[in-house]
Symmetry: C3
Subunit: 215 residues, 3 copies
């Protein structure tokens, strides 16, 4: 198999795995709120396509999930998988966290890549990657009427931005293979988020004065 | 009048009636929150065009309410009508419910039709119909800082999806006239939602453990 | 310098000043919630580009902040400025209010102008101006999980609509220079909002029955 095909296939794999991860993260969050199956499916859908949809609208390219049934099928599988996993595993917090972090890492990369393909400035690409990674989760949390994760654990966005910066640096200045660059970025984002959660456990007072002094 | 014209006119009628219904639903909700007339108008606008705007952005077609003043005028009439109705009728709950259900049914159909016109897969069309039907109400509820109706009474989305599926089935496999297909779908959606409200009256405990176990 | 160049330069000045104002308004709001620097930057970004992004998507023109780094740089400067100002000045309420009002006035004008350039009906342009002015702040407040300012102090939208109407009236029916029309509009919007805040101080009971009678 030649490099180009491998590259394309690896990108497709990332997109599919990110879609399933975010769909599961959305489905878990919706099941926590005791939604019926259709509600679970809708939240899975919104979490999964939210970021990429906004990215494609901003880039004025065809919206990725409308071209065929691949993404919708993946989301359906992700939602069903989440319902199945739920019957084995009751610790939603950890499961949701893992899939959310994976989705974040995977989607950030896709967003940056699409920006680079459109010949945008690296900083704009980084913004686009952050939007792609974060917007689905934000929409999920808004729809579930929760304080968006990204703003309760701000390191969420930080992970996204730091990971994305590494991706851009390695792409421009390293001789690493494309796949290695992508895997490094995903690992970095997941590691940062895991450390972030530990960090919050140690500093829960960080948010104590949250609701004081409203405008 | 030939069939084509009748068909176009009936579609226009559905769009106008759906716009006025959702505008009234938005205006009632805003009046409940004691908004001033401009606030009422804005919520009426957002509720009415929210779904269709997202649909048109996704399809990359001109946004429907920007081409002329028809939609804006209908929204204005809807908002004024709501203010007038309010002085006769104080039972917002029922009135809001009726207009919300009607708007849902009407807009779901329009979304599916626009998707079919763009040669999308029926499942994608159904998604588009659900988005068109539900997104205006979700935006209204987010802006009013209420838990979105669709997620308090999930059967809302279910009504949309089941109704849309009937519409697609009848369009593809029945010999019903187009108008009959549309009317059946609207009736089905309103009936499902009415039953859903009754269902919730019987099972209020369904949401009891809502806010437990946040991520 | 000829009139056309002056006009273009003044428009650019308005866009830059509006961007910095909204970025600072977003940054102040995020700092109130004790966000880390990346969180502050993201809220500054969202507040600043939210309205204009939706406007450009609706008009189907390239999204303004993606073409170059000018807007992103301005947002960065605005966020840093806000952090610096914070160390001198602890009265967030007033500072946030001033920058929010300025941004509102400036962005409303830009929205109307872009609508007029696209040959839209004046009423649609006014709608577009209101969207450009208000949507960034709404998104900021949704993301911060606050009741959107626009719906706590509805005069916010009223200021936007009244100011925009003045702008259209003066553009069509007066012989004022373009710059004078723009400055009058901004002053009117800031004055209306300032009076509105006073008005609310006198009528805090206006919202008392807010959460009663939910649908």
């Amino acid at each position: 198999m030649e490099a180009q095909t491998l590259h394309t296939n690896f990108n497709l794999l990332i997109e599919i795995f990110g879609t399933v991860s975010f769909a599961m993260s959305g489905a878990f969050a919706a099941m926590q709120k005791r939604f019926d199956p259709f509600g679970v499916l809708i939240i899975a859908f919104v979490t999964s396509v939210g970021g990429g949809t906004l990215r494609d609208l901003l880039l004025d390219v065809p919206v990725f999930w409308m071209r065929d049934l691949v993404i919708c099928t993946m989301i359906f599988i992700g939602a069903v998988l989440a319902i199945v996993v739920k019957s084995f595993e009751r610790n939603f917090k950890v499961t949701l966290f893992i899939f959310d972090s994976l989705g974040l890492g995977l989607f950030t990369i896709i967003g940056i890549q699409k920006g680079l393909n459109a010949d945008l400035h690296p900083i704009i690409c980084l913004t686009l990657g952050t939007i792609t990674g974060c917007f689905g989760g934000i929409t999920r949390d808004l729809f579930l009427n929760r304080i968006p994760l990204i703003f309760r654990k701000e390191i969420y966005a930080t992970a996204c931005i730091v990971g994305g910066s590494l991706f851009l640096l390695l792409t421009y200045y390293s001789s690493f293979s494309y796949m290695l660059v992508q895997i490094s970025t995903i690992v970095l984002i997941v590691v940062i988020r895991t450390l972030a959660v530990k960090y919050q456990w140690e500093m829960p007072k960080f948010y104590e004065s949250r609701d004081q002094g409203e405008f």
